[in-house]
Symmetry: C2
Subunit: 195 residues, 2 copies
């Protein structure tokens, strides 16, 4: 990477940290410039407006997250893949002591009604995430590892929704209990009616 | 109510609408004054600071919501009470065409890490909500209507988390599918292992 790319990457990294904890609206450019140690002109050189910066933060986080999901879902069996995913969800937020929550869930709540470009970008992330889970669930149903009375796509929708709700509750209380309970119940739910 | 009380109520009502769609941070006092048709001095007479107004909005919404939950959970049997609650959750957000989402979930995500007074207030709401559901679930377990292999408090935690996640997803897509799928799966989950 040459210097311009390095600066851009540092900007995105600092912006991601701020946005993750405070949201897009509450993150000020002044604060970001101080955190990244760069001048205003440099910021505007890379990102003409605040929305451009915000959407770049989101795009970068999406790419990283989907790559992490692909890795997590790589396992000898579908059941192990889902088990790994549920552990990943807990570990990821436990490591952050439940500060910040899920950047995508936060963005969904902040932007769903306010900014259609952000809403579309985060909507796309959730569709991809749910599709990846659904593919594994379908394979697990085929292999007799998950319940078959509910379509794989619906199960995947419930998994992602419940994980998001659990993250919200654990973040609010700053304890892992709510998310862990949600993940345990998802496992029980997925494996019911399987013999 | 005398005139001062009426003005205060109108202020809170308009503030609630704005906060519900935009969040606390993005709601400007100027916009609120225009919407409520009152002068700045009148606002400061009732609420010395923006946080006082925000917390009053939250307190008013909490009181209304918990009263609605009490009414919804009043039914001949625990199973019917939970069924009524799940229908209430869908109907409430369908009526708003999935705009605004859940004020408490929004506040949890906006304020969990940013403002401890808001975080405590909304944390208290979620605890009360979960407790009310848990009481009904426990009665239903006693009556053989709900699964008994998971504690009532855990099931209540999962119900509220999944409803919150489902609202988030339906709000993002502006369609009822995700929330409806979540509610259907909750019902299946609660009534499993019951004969």
């Amino acid at each position: 990477m040459h210097e311009g790319e390095l600066t851009k990457e540092r900007l995105l990294e600092e912006a991601t940290k701020l946005v993750h904890e405070k949201g897009f609206g509450a993150t000020s450019l002044t604060e970001l410039l101080t955190a990244a140690g760069i001048r205003k002109g440099t910021l505007y050189y890379h990102f003409p407006g605040k929305d451009d910066l915000g959407l770049a933060v989101l795009q970068r986080a999406k790419t990283k997250f989907l790559a992490a999901i692909d890795e997590v879902l790589t396992a000898p069996t579908p059941k192990e893949a889902i088990q790994k995913f549920l552990e990943f969800a807990l570990e990821r937020h436990r490591a952050r002591r439940f500060v910040g929550g899920c950047l995508f869930g936060n963005t969904a709540l902040e932007m769903s009604d306010a900014n259609s470009r952000f809403a579309e970008s985060v909507g796309h992330l959730f569709r991809q995430w749910i599709d990846k889970i659904a593919t594994v669930i379908a394979a697990g149903q085929e292999a007799g590892q998950f319940r078959r009375d509910i379509p794989a796509g619906d199960l995947a929708q419930v998994i992602v929704s419940t994980v998001e709700g659990g993250i919200m509750m654990s973040r609010l209380r700053k304890e892992e209990g709510p998310l862990k309970t949600c993940l345990d119940c998802l496992k029980t739910f997925l494996c019911a009616n399987v013999r």
